[in-house]
């Protein structure tokens, strides 16, 4: 090793992390000052000792297994855990072990990087701070469940299916799952399975070899290969064509695939996270989605609740996006007027967080005062429109829902309409209008644009 290597000491000092070089028996040859600092030993004390005796980690390397595996295979390896310094401090670390090659490609030793991860772990010490840093905001019980599940799901390597209506943050959750996983140092590759035609999607996912089709002038690695050791995020998986679903199933089962036009089978090590707003179970029943693929993807499942199911979160999100856009646009908007808040809290956001964000961006742009007023909100909030409501769970049907209109007369939202029958709503409307007119039936009938007789009949009907 020594004969094969240049002077490594000066080279190692340029590394931003503790590093040591081991020989082919895992004995320490040299280490940088950062490694001396983190272990508490000077190189003169520990040169010639087995590396693991000095680092003392719990990364599954206490008999040097990780070192020996890298020496045997030549493939780099990473592991997380903690180490004990000679000052009895426990430090969370990430090991990165790579083989050093000598003349003729012979493995002559190892380079071991011991990254101190205590700073990143401290930064994410509380769930609230952590999720906020990840761009996930919510205090409702429904979102708490999601936040609690994320660290657990991130630690496993199984496939995850993320479902939820459009705009609920499926992409964000997939990114967080990757960032919190052991694969975080490797690529996160996202591909929209609904955006490309079948042939192009196959080439994008699995790559192609030169000459596979007209225009294939060079070998192209697919997204799966680009995501090697990392995570591939297949968004809108429900829109994936059936023939490709078969190929994806093979990848999930065997971890191998053949590029378009290729002959050689490639092996990959990729974690799959898939997302869809479609009700996959129904897609399976209709024969549009393969059942076996559904069960293979649905090993772990995260369902993101629609904004209307996230009690109390709208207010937090409004404040968050207001601050964000006010800062971005250089405006001094500090809040919402009370009538604007009533409108915004009453609206039911079929487009979920994305729609809420767009509404606030519009309002901040339009606002000329310190507080966003009702007149600054997008006019469509006050229109009674038919909108396409996406399915909120995979078990729910796609449905056409009526967006929640504002009560133009009072300026207040009709909160009650969601849960009640028309009779209940009408009765409440009469009661409210009577109260407003201090029990005067003539004025009440006028307000409701009814005749007095009609009002009397309705009051009889509802026992008023």
């Amino acid at each position: 090793m020594a004969a094969d290597s240049p002077d490594l000491s000066s080279l190692l000092e340029g590394f931003p992390h503790p590093v040591m070089i081991l020989d082919d028996s895992c004995r320490i040859i040299t280490m940088n000052r950062l490694m001396e600092a983190i272990t508490g030993y000077a190189i003169q004390q520990v040169a010639g000792l087995h590396g693991e005796l000095v680092v003392r980690s719990n990364t599954g390397n206490n008999r040097g297994q990780l070192f020996m595996e890298v020496l045997r295979s030549g493939d780099p390896s990473t592991a997380r855990g903690d180490m004990l310094t000679c000052y009895r401090r426990r430090i969370p670390i990430q090991y990165t072990i790579s083989a050093l090659l000598g003349k003729g490609g012979r493995r002559v030793g190892l380079m071991v990087v011991v990254e101190d991860t205590s700073a990143t772990e401290a930064a994410s010490s509380t769930i609230d701070d952590e999720q906020q840093a990840n761009g996930l905001i919510g205090y409702s019980p429904a979102m708490r469940k999601v936040f609690d599940a994320i660290p657990v799901l991130a630690k496993t390597d199984a496939s995850v299916l993320v479902t939820g209506e459009t705009g609920t943050g499926k992409d964000r959750v997939a990114e967080v799952l990757h960032r919190k996983s052991e694969r975080a140092r490797f690529p996160f590759v996202k591909i929209n399975c609904g955006a490309l035609p079948s042939e192009l999607l196959e080439s994008e996912l699995f790559g192609h070899v030169k000459g596979a089709f007209t225009g294939a002038t060079r070998n192209k690695p697919g997204k799966f290969k680009l995501a090697e050791k990392g995570t591939i995020f297949l968004t809108e998986i429900g829109d994936m064509p059936l023939p490709l679903q078969v190929k994806l199933l093979t990848v999930l089962d065997d971890k191998t695939f053949v590029p378009v036009g290729g002959e050689r089978e490639l092996t990959i090590d990729v974690r799959i996270v898939a997302a869809t707003h479609r009700p996959l179970r129904e897609q399976v029943a209709k024969g549009l989605f393969r059942e076996d693929l559904f069960y293979r993807l649905n090993v772990l499942h995260v369902h993101l609740p629609a904004l209307r199911e996230r009690e109390g979160d709208v207010q937090y999100l409004l404040d968050h996006f207001l601050q964000k856009y006010a800062k971005a646009l250089g405006k001094t908007v500090v809040g919402f007027s009370s009538d604007a808040v009533i409108c915004l809290l009453g609206y039911h956001y079929p487009g979920n967080v994305r729609e809420l964000s767009n509404i606030v961006e519009y309002a901040v742009n339009m606002s000329k005062k310190k507080k966003v007023g009702k007149e600054d909100l997008p006019p469509y909030l006050f229109e009674k429109t038919q909108v396409q409501g996406a399915a909120s769970t995979e078990n729910r049907q796609m449905s056409v829902q009526e967006s929640e209109p504002m009560n133009e007369q009072s300026g207040a939202p009709d909160y009650r309409r969601q849960q009640q029958s028309w009779g209940d709503i009408e009765r409440q409307l009469i009661v409210d209008t009577l109260k407003k007119n201090r029990g005067n039936r003539t004025k009440t009938a006028e307000s409701l644009e009814w005749g007095r007789m009609k009002l009397w009949r309705k009051m009889q009907k509802y026992g008023l």
Partner: protein, 116 residues
């Protein structure tokens, strides 16, 4: 009569107290030492190890890395802890019985490779 415990791994002092499952216990006095006996724990656990040290009325502990919490606990329980020892347990035992072993001592000078 004193009682010494060394968490070991093969021929060596275990690099970490909390990961050790093999324990060596020796009773010794100024007149000499008894035959060492070994105990295999079901699984590594620093809590269980501390409990055993207290229950067995161990007076001396020689170990590799140990974290501050457990180190201080054992000191509070009046156990003499010599930690940070790197090397073979035979030499560590000899030196500990003679009272020559110091914390952080590396007992492998000139011995070359240490095959864990």
């Amino acid at each position: 009569m004193r009682k010494l415990l060394i968490p070991i791994q093969g021929d060596y002092v275990a690099p970490r107290f909390d990961l050790a499952v093999e324990l060596l216990i020796v009773r010794f006095s100024d007149d000499g030492q008894e035959e060492p006996r070994t105990i295999i724990m079901e699984r590594p656990s620093e809590e269980a190890l501390c409990q055993m040290i207290v229950e067995e009325q161990v007076t001396d502990l020689v170990c590799g890395g140990i974290d501050e919490v457990h180190y201080n606990f054992l000191l509070w329980k009046k156990v003499d802890v010599i930690d940070g020892v790197i090397g073979g347990w035979c030499r560590a035992l000899e030196k500990a019985v003679c009272g020559d072993l110091k914390a952080g001592e590396i007992l492998l000078n000139g011995e070359g490779a240490l095959a864990l």
